[in-house]
């Protein structure tokens, strides 16, 4: 495989309502933060990978950011694959480093879609539906994700209490993070009594809309000794893609995360039980539980009861989404998934303070795009 790739620097910005931010200011804050974390200068970066923005759409976001921060990279590309993009940036950065094309690749995501878009966000999200075969029927993104949850409910694999347990756990985790968007504690009853958005999903089953940004720097392993922070090694990365639109999904029970997790673990030479903490794309509470089962971390109908039993808590058997996730930490477009990558790195470095998972040596970060459409699983470990 050539050179090994490590993550040398990470940064996530404050998230929430940031009326003084712009798409570019968030990208800049995240980038400079990650550079400081890695002990690098802007001029050290020879590769720039960016995602996309809803609030401030650009044909060449990577060109705009390069200009904004005075960066002249040798490689520059923007990838737009929805919520899975954060993981994909890291995967492509790793490939560039492994091929010897780049030494330090800056991967940046961010958007100010809360204060920068107002109530246009939901309509913009619904626009992802197929213009001929979905949009005429008033499909919302929650309803599209609810199609899978409804099957799990029908089969008796999930229920409202299972979903509520996920929301409550992640809010408790977010309360331990100084930057998180939502810290106010919630109870099982709060979730169960929150307004139905698209059955069986309720308001507190849905992720937030936040302003925020996150950046990750992927570097050649041989540069690790010059970096101030403990390096985190990229051990295995997998993708799985099965469809774009939910009506065309080959299954409503299993998704591409099955392949992405299998491939990532195989590359790493590890098994499910070797993963100490997981940071999984959680646009809805049900998304997390379905993904965990489809990836093979739990058997059919076992993820919900595990959530209820407290297994996903920071001190639990299998800590999940220790930063609070998209549900409570924040969801800022492609940065939503990148927040999970950042938290995984911090867990492996032992930097999480009250959120720290004891002896975390192997972490999984998982991002998802579309309606369970595309998946990227990243297994990383202490170098």
């Amino acid at each position: 495989m050539g050179n090994k790739a490590i993550i040398s620097g990470v940064h996530d910005t404050q998230v929430g309502a940031l009326p003084d931010s712009t798409c570019m200011s968030l990208h800049t804050e995240a980038s400079l933060g990650a550079l400081a974390d890695a002990g690098l200068k802007v001029s050290d970066i020879d590769g720039l990978l960016t995602a996309y923005s809803f609030a401030s759409p650009q044909l060449m976001l990577g060109g705009v950011l390069g200009e904004y921060i005075g960066l002249r990279p040798k490689v520059n590309a923007s990838i737009a694959m929805g919520g899975m993009t954060g993981g994909l940036l890291v995967r492509h950065a790793a490939a560039l480093v492994q091929a010897g094309i780049c030494r330090h690749v800056l991967c940046v995501t961010g958007d100010n879609r809360l204060t920068g878009m107002g109530d246009k966000v939901q309509a913009a999200l619904a626009d992802v539906g197929h213009p001929q075969y979905e949009q005429p029927y008033g499909m919302s993104v929650p309803a599209a994700f609810a199609m899978a949850a409804q099957v799990y409910f029908h089969e008796g694999w999930l229920n409202g209490d299972h979903l509520a347990a996920v929301a409550v756990n992640q809010r408790a985790n977010a309360a331990l993070h100084p930057q998180s968007h939502m810290k106010k504690p919630i109870t099982m009853d709060d979730v169960r009594k929150s307004k139905v958005i698209a059955s069986p999903l309720r308001m507190l089953d849905c992720c937030l809309v936040s302003d925020g940004g996150a950046a990750v720097i992927v570097s050649a392993a041989e540069t690790a000794r010059d970096r101030p922070k403990r390096a985190v090694e990229l051990l295995g990365i997998g993708e799985g893609h099965t469809h774009e639109h939910i009506f065309a999904a080959p299954s409503l029970v299993d998704f591409g995360c099955k392949e992405s997790a299998t491939d990532a673990l195989a590359q790493a030479g590890l098994k499910h039980k070797d993963v100490d903490c997981a940071h999984i794309y959680d646009c809805f509470t049900s998304t997390l539980l379905i993904t965990l089962e489809s990836m093979g971390f739990y058997g059919r109908g076992e993820a919900g009861p595990a959530a209820l039993a407290g297994e996903f808590a920071i001190g639990g058997r299998f800590p999940v989404n220790t930063n609070g996730g998209l549900l409570s930490y924040g969801s800022s477009g492609a940065a939503g998934g990148m927040f999970h990558v950042v938290e995984a790195v911090r867990q492996l470095r032992g930097e999480c303070g009250p959120r720290q998972v004891k002896d975390a040596e192997v972490a999984l970060a998982h991002t998802l795009g579309g309606i369970f459409s595309g998946h990227c699983s990243i297994i990383m470990g202490r170098a």
């Binding site: 001929q132 005429p136 029908h154 307004k195 698209a198 639109h245």
Partner: protein
């Protein structure tokens, strides 16, 4: 009072035109591949199963079952707000393909996975284009 925009309507293209023109005549048309014999939804320039290009249009009998559904209480855009709660569903047609639509003419609380439905066509104000939908199949 602010004017509510019309619901989004399909813009038929060269490949989908027979589907949408069929809907206007009360026909649910779909493609079947002459090479592998499988049906596909939506219409494409090549068969999604075997990539053959010898595709023929057939007319569905119009019956199927609910594969999954969600009752939408919060509409994504203003033009659907007056319809809430409304049912969004995935329908498995007897011919072997799946499509998305609303389940009309029923109490949303009665919709279940596996429920038998039949295709109907919805007319909307301000457009000639009819939209394939389903309603509960009566025995």
């Amino acid at each position: 009072m602010a004017e509510v925009q019309a619901k989004p309507m399909p813009v038929p293209d060269a490949i989908s035109r027979p589907y949408w023109e069929g809907a206007n005549q009360g026909i649910f048309a779909f493609q079947r591949c002459r090479d592998c014999g499988k049906a596909q939804f939506y219409s494409r320039s090549a068969c999604v199963h075997c990539h053959g290009s010898d595709l023929e249009w057939q007319v569905a009998a119009g019956t199927g079952r609910v594969a999954s559904f969600s009752v939408i209480h919060r509409a994504p855009i203003a033009s659907f707000m007056a319809d809430t709660p409304y049912v969004l569903a995935l329908i498995d047609m007897n011919e072997g393909f799946r499509f998305m639509c609303n389940v009309l003419r029923c109490d949303p609380a009665t919709v279940k996975i596996g429920m038998r439905v039949r295709v109907c066509f919805e007319a909307r104000p301000g457009t000639e284009q009819k939209i394939p939908q389903v309603e509960p199949a009566t025995a």
